[in-house]
Structures are given as structure tokens and as C-alpha cells.
């Protein structure tokens, strides 16, 4: 049976969800209370995770179907912090759209719970259970502003396409099970060491399903629509937290059960990576809505993250994890800026609305500037280092083509980031925006911008934490 302490975070978070639901039903007007308790739950879970699992090198539970290792604990912590920050900066936005309901924090908590299960999974069934839990919560979150047509449309689209991809994934799982006779990753890894066409089908189905979850090209179609339609805070959640979880699962799949079949999947990941980088850069150029633009930008960034996974080396995996962490900080900062574009209870999300921002709001536009240059990967900002580690790992394996295509697409991508900067700094100003933002929003923007700006002073700290992750 093993030590249940290792899954104490999951147990605590599920009990809290049930408690919060009951509390929400029995107590009237309890939204604020439940929001605050949820923040507390996130915080406590985070502390428990750090306490119980951070020093664990590798432990398994429940017949090896759940694994606790340095990767899972680190990714859980990032997920929890991501969820916490999203929840903190959500409240003012939700209040204005009159969707400040108890379900919101509960859904976020349950989707995070699903992700934590995914991250720790070492078994096809456990993995699928976690995946479905997080997906179901996400469908509802996407439609959370249910009075708006566009939000319902986003949720429905996401539901239909996601269900399709889950189906493919499940089919892949069943094929793998058929070949190996087990659902456990370790056993599968031992069984699958010969090449077979049908087996390749299984791998491809699973990869397609996961590529859908992280919106890698060519399975990205849902991302722009869903990003645009969902409430902005949910878009923020979409663009960070599920990606971290899905990436972890992808790493786990590639490097545990499929480790012996590298030649089967390496080209697929290389293709996904190149296609995402190029497409993300090119398609973002024509966008006028910031949320759509950030959807394409996140597709591009996923491409870079995948580039690290193609290398079949610990350095590659570590560089991917560093990339996704820095990307999460950048996206958080970006959306914090976006949530500040508010005028008379109306949020603005077109690129033209940024026109001349630097004249009326110098500090906000300076943060925007730093974030955008960082997203474009210009040194000395954090985004550059993220790309630097990726390409360092890629070039170690002499994959020059991937590196050069990746770097050239950063130049294309730089164009659309520069376009936003141009609109903010070079164009004529419009009406002023409100400046009465919540402290949480200001706080998250300040902290994340400072992190991005000063990352170059202490680049080793993050590497130190991540370098404990040795999968292969």
C-alpha cells in the first residue's frame, strides 16, 4: 500500500472541494468566502506538496500506478502556484461580468486536482481518470460566462473537439494495453521493445491526444476560438496550467513506456515542434484580437517546448520544463496587463485598444514592453534564456535543422510582438483606462515583470531546482 503521505495533497484538495461545495449550497451569498477559502486551500496544498514530496527521489503507490518523483512534485508545485495566481487575479474581472459564483473556484480546484493526478500517474487508467477530471472542469470553465454567446460557443467547441481527442487517446491506450498486457507504465516499458506497425498506431493515437491538449500544430484548431471566447481569466488558466500538466504527462509517456521506441516517436515530435513554431509565428501576424494572438503565440511557444523533448536527453527535458515555467510567468504577466485594460466596467481586448498606451499609462506600457520583448526572446530578458536552454539542448544532439528553423521563426514571431509595441509606443493615444486595479493584480504584474527583468542576474537558481529531474 505504501505511505499515503505522498498523496496527502490530492486527498486534502479533494476533501476541500467537497467541503466547499456543501458550504456553497447551504450558505447564501458565500462567493467571497469560498474564494478566500479556495486561495487558502491552494496555499496549504502547495505547502503540503513541498513538505511531503519535494525531497522524495522516487516513490510509487497503489501497485506502482502512482509515482512521486522530483518531476511530479515540481510540476505539481508549479501547477498549484499557477492555479493560485489565476484565482487571485480573477475576482475583479468576474465581479464586473456578474459571474462571481461559487462554482468558479471549485471548478478551478477540481481541474487542478485532475492535473495533479495526471502528473503523478504511472498507469494508463489513472492517467485517463485525471485527464477527464481536468477536462470536464475546463469545459464548464470555458462556458462560464454563459449569458454570452461567444463563451458558450467556445465551451461547446472545446467539448466536442476535446472529447474526440480523448476518444483517440483512449483508443491508443487500449492498443497499447493489447500489446503489453498491462496498463502500468513500467511494465509497458519492459514489454514494448520490438517494432510493430499496430504498436505505432497506438503511440500515434496517444501522441495525437496529448498534442491536442497542449494545442500543438496540427491539432491546434480549437485554441484560438476557445481562447477568444472564454472569459479572460479562464483564458489565462487555459494558457498556462493545463499545458504544464499535459507536458508532464507527455514527458512521462515518451520517456517511460515509449523509451525503447524512440525512432517511432522522435520524428513525430520533431514535426509537431517545427510545425507549431512556424505556424504559431506566421498565423499570429494577422490577428487583431489580443486573446487570439496570444493563442497563436502560445502555440509557437509549445513548439519550442516540444523541441526540448525531441532530444532524448535529461538536459532536453529540463530545458523544456524551464521553458514552460518561464513561459507561465510571462503569460501571467501578459494577462495581468490585459486585465488592466478596463474602462467603465468594460474590458478591452483588441490590439487597437492599446493605441498610444505609453502616453497615458507609462508604467503599464513599460511592463507590457518588457513582457513582449521577453516573449519575443530578446536578451537579457527571461524569454531569451528559456530559448537559449532549449537550443543548447537541441544543438547538443546536432539537430541543426530544428534549431535553425526555430530561431528563424523567432524572428517572424518578433514581428508581431513588435507590432503591439509599435501600437503602444508609436501611435496616437486614446481615452485613458481606469487605474483602480485590485492589489492582487498589481502585485502579480509587478512580481512577474521583475522576475522577467532580473532573471539574468540569477539564472542558476531555476536550473538547480530543475536539474534534480532525471527521467532517463
Amino acid at each position: 500500500m505504501g505511505n499515503l503521505n505522498f498523496i496527502l495533497p490530492e486527498i486534502f484538495i479533494s476533501l476541500s472541494i467537497m467541503f466547499l461545495l456543501v458550504l456553497g449550497v447551504f450558505k447564501k451569498e458565500s462567493s467571497k468566502l469560498i474564494f478566500n477559502i479556495s486561495l487558502l486551500v491552494f496555499l496549504i496544498t502547495c505547502i503540503i506538496t513541498i513538505n511531503e514530496t519535494f525531497s522524495v527521489s522516487r516513490e510509487t503507490l497503489f501497485n506502482k500506478s502512482v509515482v512521486i518523483d522530483s518531476m511530479s512534485s515540481l510540476m505539481k508545485i508549479i501547477t498549484l502556484i499557477g492555479g493560485l495566481l489565476v484565482l487571485i487575479i480573477s475576482s475583479s474581472y468576474l465581479k464586473i461580468y456578474k459571474i462571481y459564483n461559487i462554482e468558479y473556484p471549485v471548478l478551478i480546484l477540481s481541474s487542478v486536482l485532475g492535473m495533479m493526478v495526471m502528473i503523478s500517474s504511472n498507469d494508463l487508467i489513472v492517467f485517463y481518470m485525471g485527464l477527464e477530471l481536468q477536462s470536464l472542469a475546463l469545459y464548464v470553465l470555458a462556458t462560464f460566462n454563459r449569458d454570452q454567446l461567444i463563451s458558450s460557443e467556445a465551451g461547446l467547441k472545446y467539448f466536442v473537439l476535446s472529447a474526440l481527442s480523448s476518444g483517440l487517446l483512449l483508443y491508443g491506450c487500449s492498443l497499447i494495453y493489447g500489446f503489453s498486457g498491462s496498463t502500468n507504465f513500467d511494465i509497458i516499458s519492459n514489454q514494448l521493445n520490438y517494432n510493430d506497425y499496430v504498436l505505432t498506431f497506438g503511440i500515434v493515437f496517444i501522441l495525437v491526444g496529448l498534442a491536442f491538449k497542449i494545442s500543438a500544430v496540427p491539432f491546434h484548431m480549437w485554441a484560438p476560438d476557445v481562447y477568444e471566447g472564454s472569459p479572460t481569466t479562464v483564458t489565462l488558466f487555459f494558457s498556462i496550467v493545463p499545458k504544464i500538466a499535459a507536458l508532464t504527462v507527455l514527458i512521462r509517456f515518451l520517456y517511460v513506456p515509449f523509451l525503447n521506441l524512440i525512432e517511432q516517436w522522435q520524428m513525430i515530435i520533431v514535426f509537431l515542434s517545427i510545425a507549431s513554431m512556424v505556424f504559431g509565428a506566421v498565423a499570429a501576424i494577422g490577428q487583431t484580437n489580443i486573446k487570439r494572438l496570444i493563442a497563436y503565440s502560445s502555440i509557437g511557444h509549445i513548439g519550442y517546448t516540444l523541441a526540448g523533448l525531441t532530444t532524448v536527453s535529461n538536459e532536453g527535458i529540463q530545458s523544456s520544463i524551464i521553458y514552460i515555467s518561464i513561459y507561465a510567468i510571462m503569460n501571467l504577466a501578459f494577462f495581468s496587463c490585459l486585465l488592466m485594460l478596463k474602462r467603465k466596467d468594460q474590458y478591452y481586448e483588441n490590439i487597437d485598444d492599446l493605441s498610444g498606451l505609453s502616453k497615458n499609462h507609462p508604467i503599464l506600457s513599460l511592463s507590457f514592453l518588457i513582457i513582449l520583448f521577453s516573449l519575443a526572446g530578446i536578451p537579457p530578458l527571461a524569454g531569451f534564456f528559456a530559448k537559449f536552454y532549449i537550443f543548447k539542448a537541441v544543438l547538443e544532439q546536432s539537430m541543426y535543422f530544428l534549431a535553425i528553423v526555430g530561431l528563424l521563426s523567432t524572428v517572424v514571431a518578433a514581428f508581431y510582438y513588435l507590432r503591439i509595441i509599435k501600437i503602444m509606443y508609436f501611435d496616437n493615444e486614446k481615452e485613458k483606462y481606469d487605474t483602480d486595479h485590485s492589489i492582487a493584480l498589481k502585485f502579480s504584474l509587478t512580481i512577474s515583470t521583475i522576475l522577467i527583468l532580473t532573471y539574468f542576474i540569477f539564472p542558476s537558481q531555476l536550473i538547480e531546482v530543475v536539474s534534480r529531474i532525471n527521467i532517463i
Binding site: P362, F373, I378, P379, P380, F384, F388, F391, K392, L395, E396, Y400, A403, I404, L407, L408, T410, V411, A414, F415, L418, I421, K422, Y425, F426, F456, P459, S460, I463, E464
Partner: protein, 493 residues
């Protein structure tokens, strides 16, 4: 040397910029901001002069080295200077305060932000010349794009957006390949430390590709024909101070990069690709001189002349002769001073008349004599008249070129004549002739600050023209050593 003098040189302008950022200045003129910026840069200049005085000219090894672990077990933050880099640092710290003095005439809005951008720019530029690690170099080299993009885009002329984008994307496109090369060097040799790489050497079979990757970045930045087209746009649209920084210092980064990295790290590939550089340089010298002849916009003319002058620089560097390389360095310093001065002289009359077209002017000598004299001095320095610093550089380059390749040298000499033609013709059309334009009669001569800036630039141009020894002594040992290292490498091929 325990005190981190180079790091403080790099950080001081940034600290000044931070100070400006956090002080709110209510007054319209932003006088305090200007004084703070001026004070910072002047202190920086004094530090760099101190650096030059305490610099040991008898050795080619790097001095004032600082070496700190930076990215764990991978990259060290390493800075240091030798005879070549110190001159560029002084050029930077010398030009920047002059830029700051010049801004009150040309920059009307958001002066404080402009000063912040210039100060940060100075930090990055000094960093480029100090860096002794490829990654640190790349970091500073690329980071400079951000402030320059903003300087052109916010305070530039009517086509500023187009120019800023072109500048940014061209340079970025060139540089990304250099990043691939830098990381590859790390995997090939296990280090990105320049000093160690000089000792280790890089395997011959990789050199050609790596050289080309570095070349793609430096060629755009130099700029060499045919990737020079961003320069005229950027120069024309940038505000005067921005043009000065671009012409005087940013272009020198590439020339410096050619000497420090292309020659130093890839001696064999440099030898292989010398014909390519020769061809492109000669085309740049003759072709862009001809284009300069036909320009109607003064700033554009000077921009094209910069391309031609930088053609001389690249030509000189790859002659691999003592005179050629020394000439290139002196030509870069001299061009830094002269082109800065020319942009400022154009800026002076642009501030008064708001036109950069040559046809607007004519007959200036009768209304603003002081201006005309200084303009003449700079024009003559630009064409390389003996007695100005321009002569020393061009003469040494041509001497080196004649030693190496007669034909190339002859063609480059034609460029000298063309250079004289376009700059004298410009001078003739602007300053001499009849005063036709009625508005020009009311034009004012140089005010105190303009007079001060231009005299500051004129003094070193004349001084080093007559007595270039301080420059040559500083670089001599480093250049000799570089050439020795190159020849031994070539011999062992």
C-alpha cells in the same frame, strides 16, 4: 585589480537610468533629468580615461579581467579589455555625453524617456566591447536592439515605424545564426570563454560554417553590401542623437566583432573567405559612394558614406597585415568621430529649417560662418585629408591592401576619390553658392552648446590626424599578437 572597474563602467549608466526612472520631474524642460544623465555619462567618461591611463600597453593579454560564475557550470560572466577594445570603450563614453548635450534641440517630447533609452544603450554598448565570453557578448549585442528600436520608433521622423522595424528585424535575423554558432562552439570545445578559445582553437572542419554564421550577423550590423539597406532608413528617420549613436558606435560593434571573433576564433576560415570580404568591400566602397553622389537628402548621403567607410574597415581587417588592421581600428575610431560630427552638423541646420534636403540650402557661408568652418573641417576629415584622423586610417588600410592584393587596393583607391567627390559636392551645394532661399537669411549661427559639441569632436579629429601615436601605441601589441596567432594557425593547417 580587485575593484570591478569594467562592471561599474557597464552598470553606471543603467543606475543613472534607474535614477531617472524613479525621479518625477515636474518642470517642462526636464532640466534635472538632463543634468543627471550628463553627470552619469561624464563620470563614465572620466572612468574610462582613467582606465586608459592605467592600461598597460606593453602586453597583449587581457586586463582588468573579471570572471564570475554566472549560469551554473556553463557560462561565466567574464569581461576584460585589451588594446583594441579600450579605444572603442572610450569612443562610446566620449560620444554619449555629447549626444545628451545635443538633445535639447532635437527631442521635443518625452525627454526623460529618451535619456533613459540612451543611458541603457550606453551600458549595452560598453558591455559589447568588454565581453570576453561569447554568450555575454551576444547578450549585450542583441540587447542593444531594444533601446535603439524605441529611439528610432518614438522620436524618429515620418517613416519611423518602417525604419524601426526594418532595423530590428534585419539585425535580429542576422544574429540568430550567430546564436546557433555560439552554442555549437560550446558543444565542440566545451567553453564559450574567448580567452580559452584562443588557446584551444576550433577544429578546422567546423570553422567555415561557424565563420559564416558569425559573418551573417556582423555583415548586417557593419553593414556590408548587399544587406546595408536598413542603414539609410534607420539613419534618416532616427533623431540626431540616435543617428549619432548608430553611426559612431553601433556600426563599430560589427567591425570589432570581425577582429575579435572572426579573425581570432576562425583564422583558417577567415583566410578562406577573404576574397568574399574583398569583393563585398570593394562593391560597398564604389557602389555606395556612387549612390551617395546621387542623394538629395543630407542624412541619407552621410548614411551611404558610412557604408562606404565601413567597406574600408572590413577591407583593412581582412588584409591580415599589421597596417591594415591598425588602419581599420583607427578608421573606425575616426569614422565614429567624423560621422557623429557630420550628423550633428546636419542636425544643427535641420533643427532650424526642418528640412534635410540639400536643395533647401545654399550660400550658408555668408550667414553662418562659424558653422561653415566646422562643417568644412568635418567634410575634409571624412574624405581623408592629411592632417585629419580620417587620413591616417584610410592610408594605413590602403597600405595594407597594397601589400596583400594590388587590384583590390587600386579599386579601393577609386573609392577614396569618389568619397572626396560626394562630400565636397555636398559641401559646395549646402554652404557655397548664392543664398536663394529667403528663410535662410534669418538662420542663426551655432549656439553655445552646439559650438561646444562640435569643437569637442573637432579637437580629437585634428589631434589624432597630426599625432596618431597614442592610438597606435595602444593597439599595436594586441594587433601584432593577433596576427602572429593567425599566421601560426595558418602555418599549422
Amino acid at each position: 585589480m580587485n575593484f570591478p572597474i569594467l562592471t561599474s563602467l557597464i552598470l553606471l549608466p543603467t543606475i543613472g537610468a534607474l535614477f531617472l526612472f524613479f525621479t518625477k520631474d515636474k518642470s517642462e524642460s526636464n532640466l534635472t533629468a538632463k543634468y543627471v544623465a550628463l553627470f552619469t555619462t561624464v563620470v563614465n567618461f572620466l572612468i574610462s580615461i582613467y582606465l586608459w591611463i592605467s592600461f598597460d600597453q606593453s602586453t597583449s593579454s587581457f586586463q582588468f579581467i573579471e570572471d564570475r560564475a554566472w549560469i551554473d557550470g556553463f557560462i561565466n560572466y567574464k569581461v576584460g579589455i585589451d588594446g583594441i577594445s579600450i579605444l572603442f570603450i572610450i569612443l562610446t563614453t566620449f560620444i554619449t555625453p555629447l549626444c545628451i548635450i545635443s538633445v535639447n534641440n532635437s527631442v521635443k517630447n518625452r525627454l526623460r524617456d529618451f535619456l533613459i533609452a540612451i543611458l541603457i544603450m550606453e551600458s549595452f554598448m560598453i558591455g559589447v566591447f568588454c565581453a570576453l565570453d561569447l554568450v555575454v557578448f551576444y547578450l549585450f549585442f542583441e540587447a542593444g536592439l531594444i533601446p535603439m528600436f524605441l529611439i528610432i520608433g518614438i522620436w524618429g521622423g515620418s517613416k519611423r515605424v518602417y525604419s524601426a522595424f526594418k532595423f530590428f528585424l534585419y539585425t535580429l535575423l542576422g544574429s540568430v545564426l550567430m546564436l546557433v554558432a555560439i552554442i555549437s562552439i560550446y558543444w565542440i570545445t566545451g567553453t564559450t570563454d574567448v580567452v580559452k578559445l584562443y588557446e584551444l582553437g576550433i577544429d578546422v572542419k567546423y570553422q567555415n560554417l561557424l565563420w559564416l554564421a558569425f559573418f551573417s550577423s556582423f555583415a548586417v550590423k557593419t553593414p556590408m553590401w548587399p544587406v546595408h539597406t536598413w542603414l539609410p532608413d534607420a539613419h534618416v528617420e532616427a533623431p540626431t542623437a540616435g543617428s549619432v549613436l548608430l553611426a559612431a558606435i553601433l556600426l563599430k560593434m560589427a567591425g570589432y566583432g570581425f577582429i575579435r571573433f572572426s579573425l581570432g576564433l576562425f583564422p583558417i576560415a577567415s583566410d578562406v573567405f577573404t576574397p568574399l570580404i574583398y569583393t563585398l568591400s570593394v562593391i560597398a566602397i564604389i557602389f555606395t559612394s556612387l549612390i551617395a553622389l546621387m542623394q538629395e537628402d543630407m542624412k541619407k548621403l552621410i548614411a551611404y558614406s558610412s557604408v562606404a567607410h565601413m567597406g574600408f574597415v572590413t577591407l583593412g581587417i581582412f588584409t591580415l597585415q599589421q597596417q591594415g588592421i591598425e588602419g581599420s581600428i583607427i578608421q573606425m575610431i575616426s569614422h565614429g568621430l567624423v560621422s557623429a560630427a557630420l550628423f550633428l552638423t546636419v542636425g544643427v541646420i535641420y533643427d532650424r529649417m526642418h528640412s534635410r534636403l540639400i536643395s533647401t540650402y545654399g550660400g550658408l557661408v555668408s550667414v553662418i560662418p562659424k558653422y561653415s568652418i566646422l562643417f568644412m573641417l568635418f567634410a575634409l576629415a571624412s574624405l581623408g585629408l592629411p592632417g585629419t584622423s580620417g587620413f591616417v586610417g584610410e592610408f594605413l588600410i590602403l597600405m595594407g591592401a597594397f601589400k596583400d592584393n594590388f587590384l583590390v587596393a587600386v579599386m579601393a583607391s577609386i573609392g577614396v576619390i569618389l568619397g572626396a567627390a560626394y562630400i565636397l559636392w555636398l559641401y559646395k551645394r549646402v554652404v557655397f553658392g548664392k543664398l536663394i532661399n529667403e528663410d535662410l537669411k534669418k538662420i542663426l549661427d551655432l549656439n553655445k552648446s552646439e559650438y561646444f559639441i562640435l569643437s569637442c569632436l573637432a579637437a580629437p579629429i585634428l589631434f589624432f590626424g597630426f599625432y596618431p601615436d597614442p592610438l597606435i601605441n595602444t593597439i599595436e601589441v594586441s594587433v601584432t599578437d593577433l596576427i602572429n596567432m593567425n599566421t601560426t594557425n595558418l602555418a599549422s593547417k
